[in-house]
Every structure is written in C-alpha cells, then in structure tokens.
C-alpha cells in the first residue's frame, strides 16, 4: 500500500513539473510571445533546474537522518515560497522585467530564472531522494533509479497532455498556478513523510 502511495506521488511530481513548463509558457506569452526564442529559454531553464535539483537531491540523500529531515523541510519551504511568488506575483514581475530589458533574450533569462528555476530545482530534488528511499529498502540501485525516473517520466507525459488539452483550454493560468501550488505543497509534504518512514515499514518492490 505504502509503495502504491509512494509511486503515486512520484508520478504526481512528474505531472507538476512538465505541466508547470506549459503554464510557464502561457505566463510568458503576453510579455515575450511564443516564439522559438521563448521556448529555448524556457526549456533550458527547466533543464538547468532539473540538473541543479538532481545534484541537490543527491546531496540531501546522503545527509545523516536527522539533518536530512530538517534540510528536506527547509529546501521544500524555499520551493513553495518560489512557487508562491510565481503564482501570485509572476504577472506583475513579468510586466516589470519586460520593460527593463529591451533585449528579449536578457529579459527571458531573468524572467525564466526568476520565476521557474527555484521551484523546479527544489521539487526535482525529490528524484534522487526517492531513488535512495528504494535503494535503502533493498531495491538494487540501478532498478531503483530506473523505476523512479520511469514513473516520473510517465507523470511528465501526463502533465503535458492534461495541461495542454484539458486545463489550459478551460481555466485561467492564474487559477492553474494556484492549483499547482496547492498540489505541490500537499504532495511534497506527503513525500517527506513517506521518505522518513523506517526501512521496515515498507517493502521494497
């Protein structure tokens, strides 16, 4: 049962991260358009955040248990605050950034890193921690890594399709960002609790 819940949240984090990328494109759209330049900066920012998040998550995984718990909470809090900023002040920030930087690439660099980097890096830091969670419960490291990234990528696909074809055509971007914030708080809190479970509380798959 715990395993099913665990994989559900791994998949949900995948949905959130790629769905957030599409929402990001709609947030940027009124200010920078939707050209290939916008997508280049957006995709690069997300990849940079995935990279930083993976390194961060790997570091957290190897901390001593007590310090790991505290760090997980603090890092998640930073991510939630970052997402909160994007959801509630993102539009105003973009209006300001757009007028400050005449060069579209500089404007996009500031906008993408300012609005998306921190939350995406923080939430993607759960990936290595989830791998560690499985590995410490007897799953071979290669299998653990394959399972986590496989489930997460299925979540990514679902996130793209649901956001593009169901959510964006029917709901305002601001509402969706608030929904993302709520789901991110809930799912990261649940994952932190699951990651703290003692090894014998769950059976490795």
């Amino acid at each position: 049962m715990i395993n099913a819940i665990f994989y559900f949240f791994v998949g949900l984090m995948g949905i959130l991260s790629m769905g957030f990328q599409l929402l990001g494109s709609r947030l940027l759209n009124p200010h920078f358009g939707s050209s290939i330049i916008v997508w280049a900066w957006l995709i690069s920012t997300f990849l940079a955040a995935f990279s930083a998040g993976s390194i961060l998550g790997g570091w957290i995984s190897n901390l001593p248990a007590e310090r790991r718990g505290r760090t997980q909470v603090m890092v998640t809090l930073v991510g939630v605050l970052g997402l909160m900023f994007t959801a509630f002040l993102g539009r105003s920030a973009l209006g300001w950034i757009e007028l400050q930087f005449e060069n579209i690439s500089v404007g996009l660099l500031v906008a993408c890193f300012g609005l998306f980097f921190v939350p995406v890096a923080v939430f993607s830091s759960f990936g290595p921690q989830c791998v560690q969670f499985l590995a410490s419960r007897g799953t071979a490291p290669g299998s653990a890594s394959g399972l986590i990234y496989g489930v997460s990528t299925i979540g990514n696909i679902a996130g793209v399709m649901i956001t593009a074809f169901l959510l964006i055509p029917n709901l305002p971007v601001s509402t969706l960002l608030q929904l993302w914030l709520s789901v991110a708080i809930f799912s990261s809190a649940c994952l932190i609790l699951i990651l703290r479970l003692p090894s014998d509380a769950t059976t490795a798959s």
Partner: protein, 303 residues
C-alpha cells in the same frame, strides 16, 4: 503635386524597372518564426507562410504595377478612411510583404507609416524580393508588436493589426489587455483596424474581446474572402456605424489616384453577429486558448 511626391514616384519607377528584369523562382526559408515561401511568376511576387491548411498567402506585389493592391483584404483596410479620413500617424503591426504600404505611401507621402515586424527574414524578403524600400516616413521596426506598442509614446491615428504566423495568430495579440494597450496609444479620433478570419469560434471570441475595450466596432467582409476587417474606436458617440454619417467616397478617393473603389468597400459592411458574440468568451492574458478556439469550426457549435 509636391517635389517629394514626384521624387517618390521616380524612385518607384526605377525600382520597378530593376525588379522587372528578373526571372521566375521559388525560394523557401525556415526562419525563427515562420516557414516562408517566396515565389515569383512573371511580374507577380507572392510571400507565403506555412500553416495547418497549407501555404497561406501573406502578401503579394505586382512589380509591373506596384500600387495595385493584389491581395483583396488590403483594399478593405482602407476603410479606415471612413472613420479617420486624415491620418497623420499610422502604425501597422505585421509587415507581410508591404502589400498595403505602396499605395498608402504614394497617396499620403507626408503621413508617418510605421511598420512593426517580428521576423527579420520577412523584412529582408520584403526589401530584396518584393522591392519595398522604406523611407524616413515609412520605417520598419523589427520587434514584437506588443512590445512595440508598450514602449511607444506616439498617439496613432490608425493602428492596424495584421500579424499572422501562417494562418495562426499569436495569442498575446488577441487579448483584452493588448487591445487596451493599443487603445491607450491611439489618438482620441483614432481607429483600430484588425484583420480577422471568420469561420471559427476564435472569430466570435475576438469580436467579444474587441467590444469589451472599444465602445464601437464595425465589420467589413472582404468580397468573396474569409477576411473580416474590424474597425473600432475609443469614443461612444458620434455613431460610427451609420454609413450615412461617413464622409463622401468621392472626397476620400481623391488622393488614391483611382486605384481604389471606396464605394465598393463601403458596401462590404456586414451585420454584427449579436447572438454568436453573446455566447463567446472574452480572451485575456490569463485565459486565451486561441489555438483551441481557432481549431473549433463554426459549424461544430451551431445550435
């Protein structure tokens, strides 16, 4: 006729003579924003952009007769004369191949015709293949239309929105906030002119959005084409939708050198689709599912 007009005409003859000497060709370019085809057949050069339905004609010029408005909807844009007959400053978002520009520049050489085009390749092809030469009074800015409007401090008498990427319209140029930014940059007597494609739900959403910003909007349908040109003003009165109040076409036609039948353009007025617009949604920066509305055929939603 002023010396300036004479000089412009002389320049036009020289450019036309140089242009006429070329052979037929088809060239294709993939740019940052478009997939473009430029094709010359005889004296006609066409600029096309790829869209879902195939190649979409962006602009065309007859090099033997550059003042001829080859693409029909560009004639309808001149309906702006009914609402602001003496423009001093005109902003056109979307250069295309400058199909509208040549006659306008010849008819009103003293008027500032500022163009804004996002795609540098479109600007290059317009200059090098369609032989359009910008002057001090017809500059081209290579930037996003919305960014230009936001940074502009001018008050425009005509603000023409004709920005397409193939048949597709960038969503950020379709929202209430953008139309408000345009209205803020128009003179009190100014007119906002936009080229719309009828036949999809996007058309009605667009009309509803326009009507939330502009107190008066009137529609002209280009004869035998899907183009509808919307004209909108910032004032609620006098009534701009009553053709009886418009200046006489003979008076307006004088500078156009007999190139345009304004009486037939006047007859292009179509009724406001009240019932359909009432059911449409207003598009905002926060909610503008342009791609989805554009894909919804009108017939799919008929009740």
């Amino acid at each position: 006729m002023t010396m300036r007009t004479l000089f412009l005409r002389f320049l036009l003859v020289l450019v036309s003579a140089a242009a006429l000497s070329g052979a037929d060709y088809v060239e294709r370019y993939d740019t940052l924003y478009n997939s473009l085809t430029i094709e010359r057949r005889g004296t006609q050069v066409e600029l096309r952009a790829k869209s879902r339905e195939g190649d979409y004609l962006e602009s065309a010029v007859d090099l033997a007769d550059p003042l001829n408005l080859v693409v029909p909807y560009t004639r309808s844009l001149y309906g702006g004369l009914f609402f602001q007959p003496k423009p001093q400053k005109v902003l056109m978002i979307g250069l295309g191949g400058a199909g509208f520009h040549r006659l306008f520049m010849a008819a009103y050489p003293e008027v500032l015709l500022q163009s804004v085009e996002l795609d540098p390749k479109v600007v290059e092809l317009t200059r090098e293949r369609m032989y359009f030469t910008p002057t001090a009074n017809s500059p081209i800015a290579t930037v996003d239309g919305r960014q230009f409007v936001k940074r502009s401090r001018e008050k425009w008498d005509w603000l023409i929105l004709d920005a397409f990427r193939g048949g597709y319209v960038p969503p950020h140029l379709k929202t209430k906030e953008f139309y408000e930014e345009c209205a803020a940059r128009m003179s009190d007597e100014g007119v906002f002119i936009t080229n719309l494609h009828s036949g999809t739900e996007l058309y009605y959403a667009d009309l509803k959005t326009l009507r939330t910003v502009f107190p008066q909007v009137i529609l002209f349908q280009t004869k035998n084409r899907g183009n509808v040109i919307a004209f909108a003003v910032k004032y609620a009165s006098p009534d701009m939708t009553n053709p009886a109040r418009w200046p006489p076409t003979a008076e307006l036609s004088a500078p156009l050198q007999g190139r345009l039948d304004l009486a037939s353009i006047r007859a292009e007025v179509i009724p406001w689709p009240t019932a359909r617009v009432a059911r449409a949604k207003v598009m905002t920066d926060d909610f503008s599912p342009v791609e989805f509305l554009d894909a919804m055929e009108e017939n799919n939603t008929k009740r």
